[in-house]
Homo-oligomer: 341 residues x 2
């Protein structure tokens, strides 16, 4: 297999282009991937020159950028040369295999839908995000975390199937255990959406459905994939993302100021840093847009070089493990095809 | 004003009756409240005898108890002498001012609705829960956290009004800032429920509406009251409740084992305990059922004596500050009356 080609939106994000380019340089050096930077060549080249890394990166020019305050669909239409449009077009034309962007996430999703389209059998793409769990090396994939605020039961079934494929082939989980985010363990609990989704998930032989996952079960490590509508998922994701900051603030206030505190803190410093990292969801990197005909990683707007590097690695792995092809094959092989809206 | 009389469901909860009675003894000793224990007199009296506290507690006999696996409405009808039924009846007859229960929360809510009824102008009662925030002495009231899985926009408006009254008169917040839990800061963000609730909240002159609260804003301290439907609120509450346990587990794994770790941990022990307490939502006590004609505190099933004591104090404060009367007055004075379902 040839080396995955990753188109990186160099203009999107709070720290663009410098931190994006820095992450791309590291990825080009360390990963078996070909990085294509999409954006204004002048500041990109300047950064490359200033940091004589010896790394050669391909640059595809894109004059415009979708600003955070813009309405995605209008901006994408008004700015055909926006970096996210150009990056998606590279994938569409077969000149790249994946897109990574830390820019306007609504615009990235809209551009993916417009340029790449949905996979056959998928009604709605979903954004998946990894949450940490109690178990040190285990994460759980939550989807959807924001692409679809109102969902139908069969969307959740599709999220479960896409999440299972990702978990199995990219994360190497043999038989991913799927949970339905809900307000009680019992089958009869939940709102209309949850009740109907429950029976779809239970009856689908391709899904290893463990049952309802309550809020307290999300980080328990029991589940590999948890599905929910994009409203609940987004609230939970952003709540979880704020925990690292809350913890640091509380540590700052509660750790003692005198010699006892200074000594104790000094002795434990590397461990406290590890603890923060495990809790701090922001360090876990980007969200994955599943269900479009191509690989798209949507990074956090505040992503800096390490996050961008992680996002590029995610993209590389998703391409290598043929996530889109496997989702497509799964729907072609079965009769589980969307019934239209 | 006479001393608030608090009917405590001695039979409800994982540690009933012993821990419930223990919490009640402390409350009777320390608070200006009259505690009425409702339940099987024999084990209650045995506990009182064994722990010669010198405290006299009134006992009202109730032979039955609603078990956790029972369907609330059926159980309440089949067991008129269940402790939660008897406790609610005491309030209905004017023999008690409030109920505290750590038993089946669905049964407590159903019993409150059946025996006490809703306050005029309120379509749906809500359960409110306090979350910690970044600011040391500040909490935020989230409602609904589980009473109503499917909500209409005007329910959220009522939750905001009830939450504001509670925040102002019981928690002493001068002008409670209200947020609408949502997936973006902008007014145009959200699902149908959030979009419609947004304009109701914005246009209600009795509500100090600050705008949308994203998941990351919940613990920021900007808001005093955050409203949402009971599905999202319950997921968030249970997720938050699991954080204390996750943190302890991570600390156990990440704090070093050798002399450095032992010494560092020993130096910081009291502080680490404080940190856990601030994050551990379970320590913050019970939920408050707002919108029924009486005060009901719904404690966690796993509540032990300290939580029960806190719940009783919450009930006492709510009675003293006339929360129900103020909600009622607010609706009588205005034309904001439910339009029926």
């Amino acid at each position: 297999m040839t080396c995955p080609r990753i188109a990186v939106d160099a203009m999107g994000g709070d720290y663009a282009p410098d931190e994006i380019v820095a992450g791309a340089i590291r990825a080009q050096a360390e990963l078996a991937a070909e990085i294509i930077l999409v954006g204004d060549p002048e500041p990109i080249q300047r950064y490359l020159d200033e940091h004589e890394s010896g790394i050669k990166l391909k640059i595809v020019p894109a004059a415009d950028v979708v600003e955070m305050h813009e309405e995605p669909l209008i901006a994408l239409r008004r700015k055909p040369n926006a970096s996210i449009n150009v990056a998606m077009t590279l994938v569409k034309k077969g000149e790249a295999d994946a897109v990574v962007s830390a820019g306007h996430s609504g615009a990235a999703m809209a551009a993916a839908l417009l340029r790449l389209g949905k996979l056959p059998g998928i009604d709605r793409p979903a954004i998946g995000a990894m949450f940490p769990t109690l178990l040190p090396s285990k994460s759980v994939l939550i989807l959807d975390v924001g692409a679809n605020v109102d969902c139908k039961p069969r969307y959740l079934e599709q999220f479960a199937l896409m999440g299972s494929i990702y978990s199995q082939f990219v994360l190497g989980v043999e038989e991913p255990k799927v949970g339905l985010l809900n307000i009680g363990e019992e089958d009869c609990k939940g709102n209309d959406l949850a009740l109907q989704a429950h029976s779809l998930l239970r009856d689908n032989p391709r899904i290893s459905f463990l049952g309802n996952a309550e809020g307290r079960d999300v980080m328990s490590g029991q589940f590999d994939v948890v599905v929910c509508d994009g409203f609940v998922g987004n609230v939970l994701l952003k709540f979880a993302e704020s925990l690292g900051g809350v913890l640091v603030q509380i540590l700052r206030e509660e750790l003692p100021k005198g010699w006892r505190g200074r000594l104790g803190t000094a002795l434990l410093r590397p461990n406290l840093r590890n603890i923060k990292q495990r809790i701090d969801h922001a360090e876990h990197g980007g969200g994955l847009l599943l269900g479009v005909d191509g690989i798209c990683i949507i990074s956090h707007g505040s992503a800096q070089a390490p996050s961008i590097f992680n996002a590029i690695r995610l993209a590389q792995e998703a391409v290598e493990h043929q996530v889109s092809q496997r989702i497509q094959a799964c729907y072609q092989a079965s009769s589980v095809v969307g019934e239209g809206d």
